[in-house]
């Protein structure tokens, strides 16, 4: 089950801003097992979208992959020539960008846009493309009669379904979806997640789901990669990240989330402060300024510790995580720093 399908090793992505470099992703490592849904979680600016984009090498003009490896099918995606990379896109790896509106061109019908991928990339004939488009619409639960509609004629949820259909066009093995349900209402969100899960199981896909919402991860993911300030704080099974979080940041996130199943009197506890400015990150552990458990030694680079097999944690105090969890569950722990 844990056969690594995609392996990210020490990935570094830097943006050039003026004369400075901002390392949006600074040494991220994680594995994506075959046939699983992995949630890439973190707050805005933590580097999760940059990681997702780096995997397909669709990154901003001022960004470069400045280090590390992305191992996929025996190739290092960080290094292969652009031509080779381009051949992998859509066929092996498909990307669903944030907000489906951005992935669809408003001036062309949806059929035209699907056809473009199917014919230009997939080498299909007009008739084949037509047939495949109908099949895809069926798969994502839209009436194929609407293929000739323009993007604005679809509701937000439908547009997201179209974006999923587009990603599935050439039967990729890996789908990377950047916040696919963030702008949607809860009911539509749930229906899209159900659809994605159903397709993932049926087609044996591997999916990377970029999100800031740990409830979405809890609902649909098998694995979790938690990012903070350009680094992976911890990764492991979804159960482990939610029931036995081992990095203080993950523990804090858990307290900050309202839980409809929890007690009514439950108090939400924020993590005081804000994520660091990546142009000038703190030395040592990047969570140190906000961490209630920080010690002097946290001023030095934290080690990666396996708290359990397949559950690496980037923290000096990872070995004490069971005890810290008990402390982290108390509101006072997080108030003390405020």
């Amino acid at each position: 089950m844990t056969e690594a399908f995609l392996s990210v090793r020490n990935l570094r992505v830097s943006y050039q801003v003026g004369r400075n470099f901002v390392h949006a992703v600074d040494g991220a490592s994680f594995d994506i097992p075959k046939g699983s849904i992995t949630g890439l979680v973190g707050e805005s600016g933590c580097g999760k979208t940059t990681v997702a984009r780096a995997l397909t090498r669709v990154i901003a003009d001022n960004a470069t992959i400045s280090g590390g490896q992305i191992l996929f099918n025996g190739k290092d995606l960080a290094r292969i020539p652009e031509k080779e990379m381009n051949a992998l896109r859509w066929r092996d790896i498909a990307f669903i960008p944030q907000s489906a509106m951005n992935s669809l061109d408003p001036v062309y019908t949806v059929e035209y846009q699907l056809g473009e991928v199917l014919r230009r990339r997939g080498g299909m004939s007009r008739a084949q493309a037509r047939k495949r488009s109908e099949e895809l619409f069926d798969m994502v639960g839209i009436d194929p009669g609407r293929l000739t509609d323009y993007p604005h004629q679809f509701s937000g949820g439908m547009r997201q379904r179209v974006a999923i259909a587009l990603a599935l066009a050439l039967d990729p093995k890996l789908i990377i979806a950047d916040e696919p349900v963030t702008a949607l209402d809860v009911i539509v969100q749930r229906q899209i997640l159900d659809q994605l899960k159903e397709l993932q199981t049926r087609l044996g896909l591997s999916v990377i789901l970029v999100t800031h919402d740990i409830s979405v991860v809890a609902y649909i993911c098998d694995r979790t990669v938690v990012m903070y300030a350009g680094k992976v704080a911890e990764s492991g099974s979804m159960q482990a990240a939610l029931t036995a979080p081992s990095h203080p940041y993950t523990m804090g996130l858990r307290n900050a989330f309202p839980d409809l199943q929890g007690a009514a009197s439950g108090v939400l506890t924020p993590i005081e402060g804000a994520p660091p400015n990546l142009a000038n990150p703190p030395t040592g552990c990047r969570f140190k300024p906000r961490c209630p458990f920080a010690l002097d030694l946290c001023g030095s680079e934290p080690p990666v510790v396996d708290v359990a097999p397949g559950h690496p944690v980037l923290c000096h105090r990872a070995s004490e995580s069971a005890a810290l969890r008990i402390e982290a569950a108390k509101t006072e722990t997080w108030m003390a720093r405020a």
């Binding site: 707050e43 949820g157 809860v186 800031h212 919402d213 839980d259 409809l260 924020p270």
Partner: protein, 329 residues
């Protein structure tokens, strides 16, 4: 007339309020194709002083329109809204100025709500200036407002500009601006939807704390029941401009009555690995406000719809602690 509003414990009284927009423009009208969108359609409820009420629903349900009506940012096209016994439709000039200082809006997106070229001092001075507060008193009021929203060391923020503040700090400034004239009534429109999770809790806690300390009456507009539950003791569920269910939040969370509320509660994701993955008890498709179904507006997605639902608009009925508009009750 208006016996309800004469009772002093009711601050806001909404009676059969309507907000209908004509859409389609002049050409559509010529061809007889213009339609009316009923953003708010026959909504009735009272808000007691000191009460916090959540307006819950999906996009397009009319919750934001309802909030705008309550603040007289939009005029009702039918029905009435009374604020402290006065009908909002008749409030004008001086009365309007007073109303504007008594009722305030907390905006959704702090990055849009504040002029990026105004310092925090200028941002917070503006409402004071409009209210005729003398120059000498302003700085003290500003500091007090920033303390109220728990910005540590407020003096250091005065000369900063919005881009120098984090999202959480900025949302506190937005809140301070809404509170600086000491309103009695605030409408908060998804005030944390743009914020990251780790700072969201802090802003919500400030909101709860300020509300309790000042005894504010509050409307909290959101699509997220988990957030509404955190700040409001009562929830009003809207769908296509109408109220589906209205009652104590805990009752709605634990035992939703209206079929729409049931689906809404079931759809809220929880940060817990063990949760139901059952299909939602609701039909697919999005509500179309231009062309709502006859009778009950929810019937085309309702799993329990029957013949009567198409024929007759369900009237709100008292069921225990709640009001429900559904033919099942």
């Amino acid at each position: 007339m208006n016996i309800a509003t004469r009772k002093t414990d009711v601050l806001v009284s909404v009676h059969d309020a309507r907000l209908h927009y004509r859409v389609g423009g002049a050409f559509a009208a010529m061809r007889g194709k213009s339609t009316v969108v009923k953003a708010v359609d026959g909504v009735t409820f009272d808000i007691r002083r000191g009460e916090s009420v959540g307006l819950l629903g999906e996009s397009g349900c009319g919750k934001t329109s309802m909030g705008r009506l309550l603040l007289k940012l939009e005029e009702t096209t039918g029905g009435s809204i009374h604020f402290d016994g006065e009908e909002l439709g008749k409030v004008q000039r001086k009365g309007l100025k007073t109303f504007r200082s008594r009722a305030q809006l907390i905006f959704q997106n702090p990055f849009d709500a504040i002029n990026p070229r105004f310092s925090i001092r200028a941002t917070l001075s503006e409402p004071l200036e409009n209210a005729g507060i003398p120059r000498g008193e302003r700085e003290g009021r500003i500091i007090k407002a920033l303390e109220l929203v728990r910005l540590p060391e407020p003096a250091q923020f005065l000369d900063r500009y919005p881009h120098q503040l984090s999202g959480g700090q900025l949302q506190r400034v937005v809140m301070a601006r809404a509170l600086i004239l000491q309103p009695e009534f605030v409408v908060a429109d998804e005030p944390v939807s743009m914020l990251d999770v780790s700072v969201r809790a802090g802003v919500l806690n400030v909101f709860r704390d300020v509300r309790d300390r000042l005894g504010l009456t509050a409307i909290y507009i959101s699509h997220d029941l988990a957030l509404v539950r955190y700040v409001c003791e009562r929830t009003i569920v809207m769908y296509l401009g109408r109220i589906m269910e209205d009652g104590p939040t805990e009752d709605i969370v634990h035992q939703p009555l209206h079929p729409y509320t049931k689906a809404l509660v079931a759809a809220v994701p929880v940060p817990n690995p063990d949760q139901s993955h059952d299909p939602l008890p609701i039909g697919r498709g999005a509500p179309d406000p231009r062309n709502p179904p006859s009778g009950c507006v929810f019937r085309d997605r309702c799993p329990s719809a029957h013949a009567r639902c198409a024929a007759e608009v369900p009237q709100p009925r008292q069921v225990g602690t709640r009001t429900v508009a559904c033919h099942l009750f």
